[in-house]
Amino acid sequence: MFDSLGDKLGKAFKNLTGKGTLSENDVMAASREIRVALLEADVALPVVKDFISAIKSKAIGQDVIKGVNPGQQVVKIVHDSLVEMLGSTNAELKFSSPPSAYLMVGLQGAGKTTSTAKIAKILTEKNKKKVLMASLDIYRPAAQEQLRQLGEQTDIATLPIIEGQQPLDIAKRAMDTARKEGYDVVMLDTAGRLSIDEALMAEITAIKKEVNPIETLLVADAMTGQDAVQTAQAFNEAVEISGIMLTRVDGDARGGAALSMKAVTGKPIKLLGTGEKWSEVEAFHPDRIAGRILGMGDVVSLVEKAVETVNAEDAQRMVKKFKKGQFDFNDLLSQMQQMHKMGGMGAMMKMLPGLSGMAGQLDEAGIDDRMIKRQEAIITSMTPHERENPDVLNASRKKRIAAGAGSTVQDINKLCKQLKQMQTMMKKMKKMGMGGMMQQMKGLMGGKADELAMMAQSMDADGLGAAMKDMPSDSSSPLGANPFAGGNMPTSGGLPGLPGMGGPMGMPQTRGGTKKNRKKKK
């Protein structure tokens, strides 16, 4: 929907390459684009203004890095400043002498109750704490019941519900129970309230005073717009929050609210809610949110997701095959299945820089996950022998497969052709190594790849070139063994074969290489 800042600045600065330093005019020209990009990402206006003036003073007079588009350089400056502003360290949850009270506050529908259970689960499993959860939400129908059920599902104790008890009294009872029964942490889930609702804000202030929580977490929706500043400020004034938990980060909102709330409260973002499952809660990584705000995609997350999804053994096996230049239907099938696990093609595209817009184009072109499913059906209709030896497919075998998969011989021919292309590509890649591969990708992608490579470079001091050089050799690290992450080619080998996917799917491993390089430096 929105162009990434990189795209925009790339256009704005087309003619500027080759200049010595970033002039005031260059930066001024960029600042309007940066402003719009940040506003589109829902960063609050006052924060945007401060941010831009900081950027201006930082950028003006900087030497233009050779070979980098000034636009990309500005993007890097913006990115780095965002990371800095978002907070460069992960803020850990704190504990007091037991019982530690955790107070969860926020607007209605921010995700407090789910977040309460998620945090309780982490504290129980990772920190080995004994946790008690209590719902102080007597207003929303079945809110207390919701937390009780979550307690059952997660196997975490909840305070028994006493009908008609007031929030402050529930809080007291929770603390008493915790003291008597030896709980380490008491999670107090409060009712959603509007920051302008004085009565309810007074209620929460009283609760805070009573239980003296070590953590008062503001739970806020990553989709929040300009209101983020008012809400964060109002809650911070009323109960002095200790940190922020940003929910629904797994959505496609750009998450500018994170920056707004951090900026106005000065309080760290401690956790991100990234899905409906209990395990889907993550520590905050400023660089990821920064990239996302700028519309540069969440490559790191994609890579990590791939690491989680891809079976390490499979990957190893595949790497060996690739090295030999073999690629058969089994490999294609397992790649398709991995893609499903990662949320399908569209989901992956959305996470990638500059490609979020292409998710829509894919649909138009009729390339969607259903098509991949059909192809899967074709492969699963083959015998093991056929899958391993694609060359044995003759007309009668194809007919049989088509009947089995409910498709046509033409479809099967198409699939065979794709496999051939992949094999050819792999052989080529073996010959020319990564550098040549990039060239080819450039061709496939038009200007896009170029720009992305540039961006990757600007994100990483060592540059893409260096990252790429050492990629093919290394397949021992977990990332390296990962077809999506490592640059061991399976990705660019496998996915390009999917119709029309040659360029785009080659991308993850480009950036993956950068990430890996980053890892190496540690």
């Binding site: 929907m1 402003r35 719009v36 506003l39 589109e40 829902d42 609050a44 206006l45 006052p46 607007l107 209605q108 529908g109 921010a110 995700g111 207003y139 929303r140 129908p141 079945a142 809110a143 019941e145 919701q146 937390l147 009780r148 059920q149 599902q153 009712a191 959603g192 309230r193 509007l194 920051s195 302008i196 609702d197 004085e198 009565a199 929706d221 989709m223 929040t224 717009g225 300009q226 209101d227 983020a228 500043v229 008012q230 809400t231 400020q233 109002a234 004034e237 629904r248 797994d250 959505g251 496609d252 909102a253 750009r254 409906e276 949320g343 399908g344 569209g346 989901a347 959305k350 996950d369």
Partner: protein
């Protein structure tokens, strides 16, 4: 989903709070130095003036914060001055701060400037002119959830949206309203079989309003719930069936597939189902609302929108951009926790409240 709160609080009380809050924020909100006292009086005037027409006063009360904010920005214009580039930029900023988004704000300002650039203008003129522009954009989408009487079964309304938008509460309110004001018989179906206690939450609303309730346990197949609810509703001869669904983020393919499945399965009973698909939007949502309307629209062809939580400090200004781009009617807005706080959407009132035009 969640903004049901104390029932005891009366309307006046609420408005007072909203206005008071304006005073507090005047001291600490980021923007410019203006005279907050005067601004608050503006809001108060709105509230008082609207006492007879309840809904406007509620909206104005709810939008006090945004009104305040815009007025605050416009404070610089109290005395007449020439409309120059700087002035226009300030105007654009106040629109952006109300969540109109950079593009919509820029477009509005451009249009505004075309007629008035270089002229002497004052606060009131600016507010009125911008309100008129916003009204013109919103007028085409001011709609109503029209329930038709059908011979062959209930009128089916499917309610969907992202997590925490306020679907269940909205259904509770619609049900109560349809029964009380229009004398319809209503059944609600608990299609949110995912979230813990969502079924109980809807049942509580049904108990309160006296609507019939159909639901299964958490974890049941949502499409099956919808399908069976329709059968039960046909047999029971109710006028309206409101189907709740689980909150889902629009970029989750599997969840969107599930939503499509609900529609598909409903259509097994009757091709016309659902008669209305309503998307519930949270007013605190920023520019992601575009993605929500677009994707939900692509998936199940949304008929109209309901915007919730407009009684908070958020203004839902993204509505203006949505109206322009998607032209989906806005069926209602939620401005509070009481049944009466689910209001018909009136473009003029909303625009004027948003811009803080003080007469009404």
């Amino acid at each position: 989903m969640i903004w049901f709160k104390k029932k005891s609080k009366d309307t006046d009380n609420k408005e007072e709070i909203a206005s008071d809050d304006g005073v507090i924020s005047a001291e600490d909100i980021e923007a410019v130095d203006v005279e907050p006292k005067e601004v608050v009086q503006d809001d108060a005037a709105d509230v008082d003036g609207g006492a007879s027409q309840g809904w406007l006063s509620r909206l104005t009360g709810g939008l006090a914060k945004s009104t305040f904010k815009i007025t605050q920005g416009l404070g610089d214009f109290v005395t007449k001055r020439k409309l120059d580039d700087d002035a226009l930029e300030e105007l654009e900023d106040v629109l952006i701060a109300a969540d109109l988004g950079p593009h919509t704000a820029a477009a509005l300002i451009e249009e505004f400037a075309r007629e008035r650039f270089g002229k002497d203008v004052d606060d009131q003129e600016i507010k009125e002119a911008l309100a008129l522009q916003v009204e013109a954009l919103l007028e085409p989408v001011a709609g109503r959830l029209q329930i038709e009487a059908l011979d062959n079964g209930p009128y089916v309304v499917l309610v969907c949206g992202v997590n925490g938008a306020g679907k269940t509460t909205t259904i509770g309110k619609i049900a109560e309203r349809l029964m009380r004001d229009e004398g319809k018989s209503v059944m609600v179906a608990a299609g949110d079989t995912f979230r813990a206690a969502a079924v109980e939450q809807l049942r509580a609303w049904a108990d309160r309003s006296g609507a019939q309730f159909y639901g299964k346990d958490t974890g049941a197949d949502a499409a099956a719930v919808a399908y069976e609810a329709y059968q039960v509703a046909v047999d029971a001869g109710v006028d309206v069936l409101l189907i709740d669904t689980a909150g889902r983020l629009q970029n989750k393919t599997n969840l969107m597939d599930e939503l499509q499945k609900i529609v598909r399965v409903l259509r097994k009973s009757n091709e016309d189902l659902p008669h209305q698909s309503v998307l519930v939007l949270d007013a605190t949502t920023g520019q992601n609302a575009f993605s929500q309307v677009q994707t939900f629209g692509e998936m199940i062809d949304i008929d109209g929108l309901i915007v919730t939580k407009l009684d908070g400090s958020a203004k839902g200004g993204v509505l203006v951009g949505l109206a322009e781009r998607f032209e989906k009617p806005v069926y209602a807005i939620g401005v509070g926790e009481k049944i009466d706080d689910l209001r018909a959407f009136d473009a003029r009132d909303y625009a004027r409240a948003l811009m803080g035009v003080s007469d009404s």
